[in-house]
Point group: C2
Chain length 344, copies 2
Amino acid sequence: MRAPFRVAVIGLGNVGGALARRLVDDADRITMAAGRPIALEGIAVAHPEGRRAPAPLLLAAQLLAQRQLDAIVEVMGGLEPASTYISTALQAGRQVITANKQLVAAQGPPLACLGPLRFEASVASAIPIIETLADTLAADRIGSIMGILNGTTNSILAAMAGGASYADALADARRRGLAEADPSADVDAHDPAAKLAILAMLAFRRRIDPSQIVRVGIRDVGADQIENGRRRGFVIKLIAAATTDDGGSIQADVRPRLVPADAPMARVHGAMNAIAVDAEYAGSLLFEGPGAGPDAAASAVLADLIRAAKDVPASAGSLLATLADAPPATVFPLGPTAQYPAAS
Amino acid sequence: MRAPFRVAVIGLGNVGGALARRLVDDADRITMAAGRPIALEGIAVAHPEGRRAPAPLLLAAQLLAQRQLDAIVEVMGGLEPASTYISTALQAGRQVITANKQLVAAQGPPLACLGPLRFEASVASAIPIIETLADTLAADRIGSIMGILNGTTNSILAAMAGGASYADALADARRRGLAEADPSADVDAHDPAAKLAILAMLAFRRRIDPSQIVRVGIRDVGADQIENGRRRGFVIKLIAAATTDDGGSIQADVRPRLVPADAPMARVHGAMNAIAVDAEYAGSLLFEGPGAGPDAAASAVLADLIRAAKDVPASAGSLLATLADAPPATVFPLGPTAQYPAAS
């Protein structure tokens, strides 16, 4: 048996808490999967005083200064100080696993140059789409990638299709813990645009600036549009889509689209996510699963952690690193398509 | 750049031919993905004389005696001589990649004890289900796995749902190259039972003897059953399913089942495959993609080959190896369920 793989977690929110519990409760199963124990050495939080956790609580600066760590898991979110913590850890020779879509979309390529960066949890939780694009399909040619990447807006649109107003559907999503007090990241589509940027970088091997992806959120989706769509056999979904052609031009956007009621994407319910990939050799692949929830997100983090402990190469990070010096690709809006017209 | 990874292929049927072409045509892209060139050193066929191929053609015995090989790809199918070739190659210290579901189901555990064995292509072609079960979900608890694992019978059932008789639908599948002259492996469900055995071994970490899985094929599905099902809102699909419970008891079978017309499995068309996995932490995951076709199968083989060239641990093989000394689990038939009743 190899020596324990020593890990510290930055952030003790829902995902950090679920991960810490699994590392303790499922230690035997995780040891078997990783071929060595994964030891939780500490958890960094802003205010350690008086909180309880299954490992020592410290400040991030204390945790990063520890000498005996093999990897850092970042599940605090946001650009700063997460970016500083991650670059510090990578430069100190540690592996880093992150669930931070905003950070990976904006700064993934330069960060990945500093060391092994893994980010399966950053898109679609436990759906293994990052690994599939970066590893399984690494030698394929991907023409398009399309999906429902935000469970919150998918739930709101479903409630609206059931007759609720936007305001009521949003309020209900807040009550159920699906939407934040400031819902802008979801309803204005910043969240799915960041995820789409990550997927498009891996699929098309081009650097994408997430702020260049045209976003149309769901604030202006009206009951009349939903009803008109239904009469014509469509449901309205917030679709993130990106395509490329032989010339290397990239088209991508996130917008409400009319989806034929019998298409797989129309049947993605509640907070589920779905991703369709069109590859030249592998063909048309569809992945569906929970897009949110502490256990599903922690599950994706844990998969990366086990790969790190087994010294599996960080394929997705290596791929992003190759894009670090490239200028961001020009991203044209995809706009309405014959198969998926715009909803308005 | 590391030295080339030297590979030989046993079998030059549809899959072997597609793989050999990609190794030559896509050499640059494959080199980038693997971090080193993958060099096709030879192809073994029973009768090399007068055939043309993108690499030297030899007899399997000649090929296996070559000293300068890192890996062997077996795409000839069948139990023997494939089993002997694979064990010879593993014992000589080579990595082995196989698409052979029959062999992996029956002899995977003892073969995997001999060396790194990879078999992503053995189930559902380019759907990355082997890697997902053995690697991504390695530390999760999987309660059930269910799917459409045979494209030929799915196509025949679709034609019958459209009004064709079983005999006509089978004849048409033969004409389109979907069904063999002897269709028994498909229509009597040997093929999906072998695939289910592989998936269940990886999902439940128990040794499964594929011959213990109750099979009901599609020979006896009648037009009246299809019509009766339709009137009640069902379509008939050949479903492979396996479940386990807290006590470790395993239930599995392959049989025609009534699938609610609005369920995802009902919408799996033609030669597509689909697999649903229910995991305690990752949640309900659904994977869909082409279940057959030379390019899709070669794509899965190539993914394994790139992992081999990158020295990624052979997780699925290692998992099977841990089961080699265990007696096969008793497999009870699953039988009709509330969600998916038997079709007859």
